[in-house]
Each structure stands twice: as structure tokens, then as C-alpha cells.
Symmetry: C2
Subunit: 449 residues, 2 copies
Amino acid sequence: MSTPDTTYLEVPADIDQAGLTALIDAWLEAVPDAQHRAEQIAELQVPERVRVLEVLDAEQVTELLDHASPHAGSDVLDGLPGDLQSRALGLAAPDVVAEILRLSPEDEQDALRGALDVEDRSVVETLLAYPEGTVGARMTPRVTAIGGALTVREANRAARAQAADTETIAYVYVVDEDEQLIGVLSFRDLVLAPGSAVVRDIMDTDLLSVQVDTDQEAAGRILIANHLFALPVVDHGRLVGIITSDDVADIIDEEGTEDAERQGGSAPLDLPYLRASPWLLWRKRIIWLLVLFVAEAYTGTVLRHFEEELEAVVALSFFIPLLIGTGGNTGTQITSTLVRAMAIGEVRLRDMGRVLIKELSAGSMIAITMALAAIIRAWTLGVGWEVALTVTLTVAAIVLWSSFIGSVMPLLLRRVGLDPAVVSAPMIATIVDGTGLVIYFEIAKVILF
Amino acid sequence: MSTPDTTYLEVPADIDQAGLTALIDAWLEAVPDAQHRAEQIAELQVPERVRVLEVLDAEQVTELLDHASPHAGSDVLDGLPGDLQSRALGLAAPDVVAEILRLSPEDEQDALRGALDVEDRSVVETLLAYPEGTVGARMTPRVTAIGGALTVREANRAARAQAADTETIAYVYVVDEDEQLIGVLSFRDLVLAPGSAVVRDIMDTDLLSVQVDTDQEAAGRILIANHLFALPVVDHGRLVGIITSDDVADIIDEEGTEDAERQGGSAPLDLPYLRASPWLLWRKRIIWLLVLFVAEAYTGTVLRHFEEELEAVVALSFFIPLLIGTGGNTGTQITSTLVRAMAIGEVRLRDMGRVLIKELSAGSMIAITMALAAIIRAWTLGVGWEVALTVTLTVAAIVLWSSFIGSVMPLLLRRVGLDPAVVSAPMIATIVDGTGLVIYFEIAKVILF
């Protein structure tokens, strides 16, 4: 939702070097957003892209790659000559380079690896060795670390010496001789403390850290819940990197997208939407559609079972979509709210009792309201009081039933260690459809037959 | 999803001061997470809470309020004596204080305001004056700003002098004599540049900023897309604050929750789930339920219209839930993915054509697959070839129809300036239910009658 671009980057074939430089300067001025810049450069053909990248200075290339998404960065580099790739990757942060490598097609990864210098390559390989989804794979290994025995004056000097290489200097971490993390100083502390004070005496030992194999969303949640800019990452106590709040915002966004897709009854795309082919969309969607189709097919069996009743009172069939639809809507409202609350850590397993009481209370009030609406609807359709009574009682029963299903299902999944986000809107609707019909016809049998 | 707490804070009635101090030290050690600390303190009765807060030192109180959520912070302060509130609020960051005030009940806001000293109160009132949802209401007004004429040495001194008061020193902003924002230096630049260089010559003038009345999610998206730690906030060019990446993560989370709730067919709760009363849940849910009920009631009219066909071939009714359910599922998959992609800025209005082509291609493949599944299902129910053919053709038609509806609706809403997130799973299901039945019976009429 950034501001729309009105300026697009176009490189006329006959433009000379001076003209191109002026054009790019004007364009940089008009498009300050790194993500938009990268997207626009990526849309150019290789020869134009080469010309543009050759005009940009080191700082501009660094910013382009470090501040845009790795998807966009990978598109910018795609198909470029090796020396240009080499220059660009040498300027980008190692975690960005690792992410770009991860996103590039298999056959291009080797070329990109070859474009890295030896030192960068080893750092990047370390990051790539951590499994995707862990903090290790997303952290930046460049972190400001100092010894506890230094004075504040010495520490300042050391922190400055490392500043050129580190991504953030909001915090300076303190390690012992075995690189074990023992404390933290905010850079503010370092700036305000007297120069002769010893780091060990003024450092904060009360600090949060995460293991390198922690799930990246779990780490992100800790950072967010504690309003930190960075969280140190340790491997058996040894400081190996930091995860920063800008990366966390990315992680949280990705997980939010996955959850939204799951909630809609689809497998996560794991790709930006516009990059997904129709074939990929088909693959990610068809499995759940078929599973739900098979589950929903049960409704046909239920209806055939009650064929006699349906033939005797055809008016019963008029209300089928309305009744099961209302049940599905009620359940969907609950799961979407509850699954989200669980995803962001607001609701935990131990809250199960509170959730059930809350939802069944709200469900009872909703049941009464919807039953009133059902009476009115049955009356306007003119179906006689027996059918009207059946429909009214069924609405109330289905609302309560789906309130129960909607609140219990996500908690049960978490209980057995599964991700509650798979309880999608379509899944709840499907469960309520079949069972709701049974409720409907059982009530009908009592009242009508 | 932070690690579960095994240690809970309990204050025995007969504990002496030394015992309490030792107990709290051990507890701080065991529970390093500020959010968990605040939640646990908030659960204590007022007298115990007073004792605990009196033991914590200034830094610990600051951390407790600045790093936990304002909801938790407001609970910690609730009902405390004025002098303790005054001490705590005096230590917290102004944007946190403003947020706590905003969340407190009306009748307590005056007491809390009174607990602020004059200078803090004026800063907080400024923040409270900006409408909720804008960057102004969420920014921190404490920002490091220096003049462009300074040398790097002087700038370093000035930045240090301001460091005690500013929240982040990742960036130092450069302003002219009218406080107009003219450039930025990363603190790294400031540390690495020669001491005699002039700020104006080395500052980066190519910087992103947002207007103070910008929507907070839009600002957050710019910060995330560009991987920044902070984004300067300006009012007619004048630097008035910054919005930092830890706040943005919060904002993104809140907006994600609102969207998830809307997608489930409910109005946003605007409160953490566990704080919502059953009465509030009822209010937030019932409106959409009734709207959808009225819309869905149309299915009854459709079915009554085809009463003769239904009476003649009762087997047609067996497939009603399956057909409209499959349509609803297909549409829900698309809207959930698309609405999310639009929310995070991946899909814009100008992509409408690409989206439609992609979705109708995927929809065609899904239609063929589901039609095959429908043949099998009709055959196992033993309903005769005419009904089987009707069901098969209807599945294919409904899948295509709901692919169209599911992809066009969110884009249309954005087109007319509404939030696409209101196209919820229940809404799509409801639209497809009624129209899907018309498709079904029209096909049936051609084949069966």
C-alpha cells in the first residue's frame, strides 16, 4: 500500500551515458522506495538492466538489494553477467545473499555462489546450512560483540571498529572468552556511561536470546512481545548472530499470509501471489477441495436417508442451504478469531475453559437472535407452523452446535500438536453441513411425523 | 508462542522486604520476557502489586512498561496509588503512555493524566490529538535531530547529548533552521566519517518519510518493504517524530488480526480475544450473521420456485449441500489468498487482468477435476445418468462461477475505495449458494424435463 508510482524507469536505446545518468538521478528522486526500484529494474531486459546497474554507485546497489525483498533482488540479478552479479552480491548483506540464493532456480545457484568471494561464501553457506523456517536461516551473522573486561572507552572504540560490518548498532553484546553470550548494552548505555567504567559492571545480564534452531515465527513473537529491535541468537550459549525487527516484520507477514491461505482452505503458496502459476494454484487448492468434497458427500447420504420425509414435506428442502449456511457462518466467525488469537499467542491451551464458556455464552445469545430471524423467514415463505417451528429450533441448535465445534476444533488441534490454522472456514462449514442436516431431520421427525 | 512460564509470581502475605527482594530477583531471572512479567504482575491484587513495583528499580519499571503491550501496562497500573502511577508513567516512553491512556477507562484517564509531569503531559497530549489509526498517534516524538552545518565531531556530541531521550539511534536525522527534514545519517555513517566532515556533505538526501496523518498500516508497509528500522514522520516537511520497526510489527499484527476477523465474517473486535465479553462477541458477530441470513434466505425463494422439479426428482435435493458447498470452498480459497495479497501490497488494481486470467485458468483445471469427482459421487449414490450428468455439469459451472466471483469481488471493492477484507468466506459462500442453485436447476431443467 505504498504510494502509487507515477514515474517508470525506461531506458531509451539511443541514450548516451550522460543522459542515462541524469535520467536515473531523476528517477531515484521520484521513486524513493527500494522495493519499487527493484521491481522496476527487474522488469527491464538484460542489456538495459546492465546499463542501469553500472550507473548506480556502491551505496545505491547495497540499498537496492538490502532494502528490497529477496524475490525482487533475485529478479534484478537474473541473467546478468558474472562480474556484475559478483559486485552486487559482494555489496549485499549476507542474510540477503543467502535468501536470494535460496530463491534462485537450482541451475543459477552455482553461478551466484561462484560470484561470491571466499569469505562471503563461507558466511552464506553457514546460513544456508540451517533448515528453512529456523532463526538460523534468517539471522544476520554480523553482530557487534565485545569482551566484558573492556572499559567503556575501549568498548566504544571496538564497537566503532565493527560498525562498518554490522547491520544494527542498537545493541552491543558482551561475550566471554568462549564467545558465550553473557550480557548486553544498549548503544545508549555505552554512550552515556563514564569512559572508565568496566563493561561487565554496567552491562545488563537480564536479556532474552533464542536458540539458533528456534522456529522463526516463535522468535519473532518474542521480539514483538518485548518491543526489541534485535534478539541475539545463540548456539549452545555461543553468540552466532542476531535477528532484527525488520526481518521479523517480514517473517510475521509471511506467516500471516500462510495462515490466511490455510484459513481459506488452501495449502500455502509459499510464493508471492503474482508469481504463482495457474498450475501451482491448482495443486495448492485441489487437495483440500477433494478432501472437503468427499467429506461433504456425506450430506448426500444423510439426505437420501431422509428421502421419505423430504418427499412428504418438500418445503423442508427450502431451508437446507439457509440452515447449514448459518451454521457454517457461525463456526467460521469463531475459528477465524480464535485461530488468529492462538497464532499471535493471545490464547493458550490453558485458556480452553475460558474460551468455551465465552463462546457458548455468546453462542446462546446468537442462537436466540437467529431463531427469531428464522421465525420471520419461515412465516414469509408461508410454510405452516410445524415447518416453521422445526426451522426455528434447528437454527438455534445448529448455532450452538457450530459454536461448540468452532471453538473446540482449534484447541484440540493445538492439544495434539498440530497447527490450528488448518481448521479453515471451508472445513468448519463442511463439518457443520452434514451434522447440521442430521439435527434438522431429527427435529423434523419429532415435530412433523 | 513464547516459551511457557513455569515460574509464577506469588507474594506470600507474611514475606519481609529482604525475602521479597530475593523472590523478585529469582523471578526476574526465571521470566525474562517483559510481556509475561507484566501479565503476571497485573494478575496480583493491588497491595501485592504495590509491593512488587516498589521493589523494582527505575530501569526495570521502564522496561516493564516500554516492552510489554499497552494493554498489559494499563492492567499493571490499574487501581494503584497516584504516586506509584506517577513514577511509572514518568519512566515510560511517551508513545507508550499515550497508548496506555487511550486504553484506560474514561474515568481513570484523568487520574493518569494528573500523574504525568507538565512536560510529559504536553508531549502525550500532542500524540493523543492525532486520530487513532494515523502514524501521528503511534509515533515516538523523541527523535535525534541535528543541523546540517555541524561537523561530524559536533554532530556526534549532539547525538550523544540527545541519546538519553531518544528511543533509537539507528538513524540521526538532519533538519534545517525551520526543522524541515533535509537528510539522514545512519549512526554508522556518523561513526565512520572523518570528524571534520560537514554533515550536509555526507548526509543521505534520498530518504523516505511519511506524513503525520498517513494511515499507520500504509506507513508500516513502507517501512517493511524497505527493511528500515525507523521512518521519519513529518508535518508539512517538519520532522515531528519517528515510527520504529518494533511499533510497526505491532501495527502489522493488529491489522492482520482485524483482517482475519473480517475474513471470518465478523466485525473486528478491537480488543485482545480474552478481554472480549460474550456480549461484545455477540455485537461484533450478529450484524453480519443477520445480513448473510437475509441474503441466504434467497435460496429458499429459489428452491420454492423449483418446487415442481424437486417434487418430481427428489434425488436432486441430495446434491444441494455438496454443490453449493464446493462452490463456496472454491470461492473462499481465492478470496482469502487474494485479499491477503492485496493487504500486503503484492496485488494492486492494475494487476486485475493478470489476476482474472490466472484465476480463470486455475478455475478451469479445478472445474474439470471436481467434475470427475462429481461423476464418481453421483454413480455411488445410484441416481441415474440424467441426474449424474446434471450434477457433473453443475459442479463445473459452479466452480467457474465462484472463481469469477471470488476474484472479481475483492478487486471491485478496492476499485470503489472499500477494504477488500470485508469479502469474507461467509459472504462468498452466501453469494455462491443462491446463484449456484439457479445454475443447478436451470441445467436440470434442460436435461431432466
